[in-house]
């Protein structure tokens, strides 16, 4: 018994009290900022070096839905590209993930893109089914961590459940491998409507580094309405939890 007490006293309070404003380390790569006066030559250079095809060669804008967060653009051109450690980078519209030069205000979700029933039904309780479809297990581990003793999203009624039948939506990770595409669709069909689809991680949002691979089959998610995009490689638990809270209107 003494041992257990020692463990508990060492353990102390572990939960992150304010998930909205938790400081993360300086080097964490969250929302990028691109200088407003980027030149055409700089944009071309950045687009050429970006391994993920995330940088637009004419404007220099960064698409967080493609970005692998490797930081190379910022290292090569620090006066043009910079990553802040702002982890609130989820969006309800795909185009909002594109960060334009000069855009420095925080990303906030577009309320008008949220379906009405989502707020009515899921604000206080949201049960999700996770499906990994070619994921590399890092996003999956971060989603597990979102429910752990530190991030504890369960305090807001957000939880992963074992069956799609118990779920209000599915959370997809991975670029969607062809071999997993049928199972993913079956899982979605088994989820009672109204149901959400949340894409977590760069791979899920755009195929990421695997976008060009013939082993990927994305027609299912491309034909669906996506409720939330959560970028990252992997997406940080705080990015996911904040995104979901914003989506469901949780303060």
């Amino acid at each position: 018994m003494l041992k257990e007490i020692k463990i508990l006293s060492d353990h102390g309070k572990q939960y992150v009290p304010d998930l909205r404003n938790q400081p993360v380390s300086a080097l964490f790569r969250g929302r990028p900022v691109i200088t407003a006066d980027i030149t055409a030559a700089e944009a071309r250079k950045a687009a050429a070096l970006c391994p993920a095809g995330a940088i637009d060669s004419s404007s220099g804008a960064v698409d967080l839905g493609r970005c692998a967060f490797c930081c190379e653009c910022a290292l090569a051109m620090p006066e043009v590209y910079r990553f802040t450690n702002d982890y609130r980078i989820s969006a309800t519209r795909r185009e909002d993930l594109i960060i334009k030069p000069g855009q420095s205000e925080p990303l906030r979700i577009d309320e008008s893109a949220v379906r009405k029933e989502v707020r009515r039904l899921f604000r206080r309780s949201l049960k999700l089914r996770q499906v990994s479809a070619g994921g590399d297990n890092s996003c999956e581990m971060e989603l597990s961590a979102a429910g752990n003793v530190n991030f504890d999203m369960g305090r807001y009624g957000i939880e992963f459940v074992a069956s799609p039948r118990h779920a209000d939506g599915i959370v997809i990770t991975g670029p969607v491998s062809e071999n997993m595409s049928a199972a993913l669709e079956i899982c979605y069909e088994a989820t009672p409507a109204p149901r959400l689809i949340i894409l977590v991680g760069t791979d899920a949002i755009s195929g990421g580094l695997f976008a060009g691979s013939p082993a990927i089959k994305r027609d299912f998610i491309e034909s669906q309405h996506i409720d939330l995009y959560v970028p990252g490689n992997p997406a940080h638990p705080l990015t996911f939890i904040n995104g979901v809270m914003d989506l469901t209107g949780r303060k």
């Binding site: 463990i7 380390s25 080097l27 490797c70 990994s132 994921g135 297990n137 997993m180 691979s213």
Partner: protein, 506 residues
Amino acid sequence: MSSNRYKVVRNGSSPAGFSEIPVLGYELFHEEVTSMLADERYHCLNYSCFRSGEGFRFICVIADDGSGEIRILSHIKKDDGTPLRSLTASCYAMHIFEREIYENHGVLFDDHPWLKPVRYPHDRADRLSVMDNYPFYEMDSEELHEVGVGPIHAGVIEPGHFRFICNGERVLHLEIQLGYQHRGIEKLFVSAGDGLHRALLSENIAGDSAVAHGLAHAQLLESLAGLEPPVSLQIERCIALELERIGVHIGDTAALCGDVAYQLGQVACEALRTMVINTTQFWCGNRFGKGLIRPGGSNFPLTEESAAEILRVLEEVDRRYANVTDCIYSLPSVLGRFEDIGIVTRKQATSIGAVGMAARTCGVPRDIRATHPFQYYRKMEINPVMQETGDVLARGMLRALEVRESVKIIRRLIENWRNCAKETGRPQYDLRFRPDCLAVSVTEGWRGEICHVAVTDNDGKLVMYKIKDPSMHNWMALALAVRNQEISDFPVCNKSFNLSYCGNDL
């Protein structure tokens, strides 16, 4: 020792010129490979083939755990549809490689006992072979029933299909069908535009082993380019690899506790894991170390500030984790669920070619850091942590002990780093590779050995890239571990191995 039957290289050292690799007739090749593998001191790191002008070029890479040599044997087969005599019939550990060769290239092995699909790659030889008609092993009896689980599991984990044949609650047989995670990553290494793209791919082979795979890749390219990394970079890489091991092992301890409803152990370990991976994030901005390992240099050279932070956190983690594991592994209700559950015997482990943790928990001392040291491990004495009983408890205890050992290793590494010249430069993405050669790179990730093999053509361009995650061998260990167990013990057995799906499916 040199031989006219194989070419000898060392881990991560200069590659083998293709002309130096003897090509053997199949009979001789078969005899050489099986006679080596009959001795426990040898094990196969990789066996694969690729299409070249003459037909199929087979490459077998065998590690000599006694001398640290890596032997490369080769054979060329015409593409004439004739079957080969299988190596698996004499050496069961080769089953997975021959299955892979069969699936990818349609080469038949006529006495292979288990010639089944591995992962249904998009470019498989037989497109008519589809997941829906996987040839499951069946037992015909009124007494028995089958239980199918997956591909989607109850937890937040990767997909795979498990089919149990049970007698009541008792598992007689488990067959594991994988492939759902296949992304065609090996081919992407060959077609990738540049070195940066490949470095990113290597971190995404299995995100829980981003450092171990990233390092296997970086080391491979450096070998092809004839580049020796500076000492400071070598040390930094070893620190990153040990941090990865510590983080995952502690996280797995939490998961094991969770499976047997021991909440104190679970939450205490979850919190400790967070501390470790946040330290990795402090160093490089990513909790999994993505971005940290790059060929030729680093974007995040270790700083005194990061080194001090690592030491500070590990000091605390080490102390607290020791207390927690002490508690976990002396609690009768936990021991009741772990002890004598999911046993893999030493004999089974060697016969299926188990590697890494799965081997060390049943008394087989396989640890690349000790037998084929790479990076700064070459200058260190590494004593593999061992367990003998091969059960869930052994796999739990091994983690507890390895964490302690890795903390000690990191302390030594940082001490040496403080005394060495800081020469870590920027990454090099445009390395020029030696033409017409083959390089082998092996690292010891937390699961076990990771082997990357690459071949260049006469312009020095990559023409083949092969990846082997330890899971490829060890999934069979899980299948054996659950035999004659209650099916309700499957979750703890599975967690105790924590194998990679994407690492297998590639």
